[in-house]
Assembly symmetry: C2
Homo-oligomer: 414 residues x 2
């Protein structure tokens, strides 16, 4: 029986989930794969807090460096988060030829290219299924299951905190601030909540998905990102009355060699499956030119779901090591091309929902039409206009003349 | 650059889709994986029909045997269907150490154990992602992404023909026979349609999913299967009024070491995502003890979607060959245990919907309660009773006393 000796750096929520999963199901995994996962060492600055997990003597250490240099450790799991020390540790491990498993989307979004290249140079791998969609094996599905496809587009609900807030706003009719405060109390949202609700976390994940879909490191600057902060309950109830729900949507599309990468709250039709993704769940729609529409759904965060994805990667890395795969496809695909072309945010075409809190709907329609934006319908009772497709830059120009107005994307998946 | 030289046996719908996909995206795949897929030979008894695909001279042959014995062919794709010649060809290829990719669920359900063992004995693999859920990479997700989990249950909509018929019955309010006839005219249903509408095709797929979840060959005799033939429009409209939709559901569950394997039409709540799976789409819900609920959705059939899954397997088999993996996990997992224990169909617990076309609801409630079946609600206007959970054998006994009545499972996913 082969063994994979694991060094875990970071014994927080996910780290504890990984250890719990291996303790509980390690023998089952060994029976399925022929490889026994062994937690050899865990490093965390805090070695006293009780995580509710019984560890053999001598496993826990405050010295992360010692795990990286330990020749009896085959693989490093990086779960400390952030992009500074995490980067240092990851690079060091890769330089020693040790594969690294990580759930750190910010690290990949900010330093992915450096990490993939370092892994390739040293004939090893970095594995990051847990970085996107928590427990959902969506990167693996795209990379392997859909390998025969060119990816046409990807629509994702990638942030559980935002989706939880939007779902509760819709169900309970309460304002954003109140639900956010409650979500923070319940541990569903961080304090401060900025990374989640301003769309940055979703953008990090979109960057990883897009890199894999199109085969090159994608810079964060390629993403137009907007969050859900301050979204009004009126938009949610108007959307509902019009047959839509509001979701924080990441949109990745290729058109004529240019890639659109946006993150923004959008009205999505209730008839589309994506509108049924509620609470803290995540979902990713991937459309391939052969397979057509596919969807992957599950818990995007949490101790055991994210732990499940980390363990999937540990076992993949172990098999790759056993078979001397060297640089795995999770690295080579990200470096398939040197760079990609992106659609500037102003050139992104979309439909919009526009609400005029106080204003002359007729004049607004005239302004929009003057800018070449077609109006699809006018909802007088809500003071809302739904438009046809137009470029973002055109909307920005028209909005400057409309005065006080709320604008959201309207996505029909056409 | 490494090459994988492919021999395809069966140049029908899916075979043509595979070739089209490789012709279109082969170079892209090579860029992503380092392996170039090459269609070396295609065998079909019919070498004259135009499939709309241009092939180099000498690729097409009526002699399947010559592909199996050709030392320049690395891998066999079996797409002839059926369980007789397909079995012979598959066994012969495996015995020569050639990996086989197949979309043939009937072959796996009827002869899986023999095939997995033959593959293991000869240090090669059989790959069958396309056999379940068409283009959806759900077997790979379960085997690799969820490797850290014990599977608690699987709910699947696995037959696109049935789901298409049910969706149209619901939308158009037309009777089963009329929709079926139309589906046959449009090519959505085969003639005769028995394999699909009587649940056998779904049962084949459930057997493969259950084998992978619990790690042993599952015999077809372990499945209690019922189809949708003759389902009345009244059930569909009653379900709708009660907040449900009717789906042909495959249910795989483990409880105290015994596995429930059923295929039957069931009322599912509209609030559950599975009720949103419409038309010819398939979906599989997999619940793991770490990851919780996950779902995989996409096209369960068709030339290019199924071709996409076959190509995913071809590229996996090619990588396994390149790295001398020998017997892959798609084989070892199916033989992890010798056998499993199954819940006899009479012992399966479920809730039910019971309609009495003409009858005394009060007397019926008394009969049910006499048998120990709790009644959850009585819908007088529809002459319908919804029950609490009870064993199938108890329902059978009670129904014998109820006279003419319609009974369907009611599944709340609890």
């Amino acid at each position: 029986m082969n063994e994979i000796r694991i060094g875990i750096i970071g014994f927080g929520t996910v780290g504890a989930g990984v250890v719990e999963g291996i303790q509980k199901n390690g023998a089952w995994m060994a029976g399925r794969t022929g490889i026994t996962p062994v937690v050899a060492k865990i490093a965390d600055l805090d070695i006293t807090t009780d995580r509710g997990i019984t560890l053999p003597e001598g496993i826990l250490t405050p010295d992360a460096q010692s795990l990286i240099s330990d020749e009896n450790i085959d693989l490093i799991v990086e779960l400390i988060g952030g992009t500074t020390i995490a980067r240092t540790f990851t690079l060091e491990a890769l330089k020693r030829g040790k594969p690294v498993v990580t759930a750190n989307k910010a690290l990949l979004a900010d330093h992915g290219e450096e990490l993939y290249k370092t892994a390739r140079e040293h004939g090893t791998g970095i594995y990051y299924e847990a970085a996107v969609g928590g427990g959902i094996p969506v990167l693996r599905a795209q990379r392997e299951g859909l390998v025969g496809n060119r990816i046409e587009n990807i629509y994702g609900i990638l942030n559980g905190t935002c989706n939880y807030i939007l779902t509760r706003m819709e169900r309970e009719g309460l304002p954003f601030d109140e639900i956010l405060a409650d979500a923070q109390k319940l541990g569903y949202a961080e304090t401060p909540p900025d990374l989640d609700i301003d769309g940055l976390d979703t953008a990090h994940k979109a960057v990883v998905l897009a890199s894999m879909a199109y085969g090159a490191p994608v810079p964060m600057s390629a993403v137009s990102a907007k969050g859900i902060r301050g979204l009004s309950g009126e938009e949610i109830s108007n959307a509902d009355a019009l047959g839509y729900r509001i979701k924080l949507l990441s949109i990745i599309k290729e058109n004529a060699g240019k890639i659109e990468l946006s993150v923004e709250p959008a009205l999505v039709p209730k008839t589309h499956m994506i509108s049924s993704v509620n609470d803290s769940f995540n979902a990713v729609f991937v459309k391939g030119d052969m397979v057509g529409d596919t969807m992957y759904y599950g818990r995007g965060a949490g101790r055991l779901p994210t732990g499940s994805a980390v363990i999937g990667d540990i076992m993949e890395a172990a098999a790759d090591k056993l078979h001397n795969v060297g640089t795995p496809s999770s690295v080579t695909i990200m470096l398939q091309k040197d760079s990609l072309s992106y659609l500037p945010s102003g050139d992104i075409e979309k439909r919009c929902y526009i609400r005029l809190p106080q204003g002359d709907l007729k004049a607004a329609v005239e302004i929009l039409e003057k800018h070449g934006i077609g109006v699809s319908s006018v909802e007088k009772s809500m003071s809302v206009i739904l438009t046809h497709r137009a470029k973002e830059s055109t909307f920005v120009a028209a909005m400057a003349e409309l005065g006080d107005a709320v604008r959201l994307r309207l996505e029909n998946f056409e």
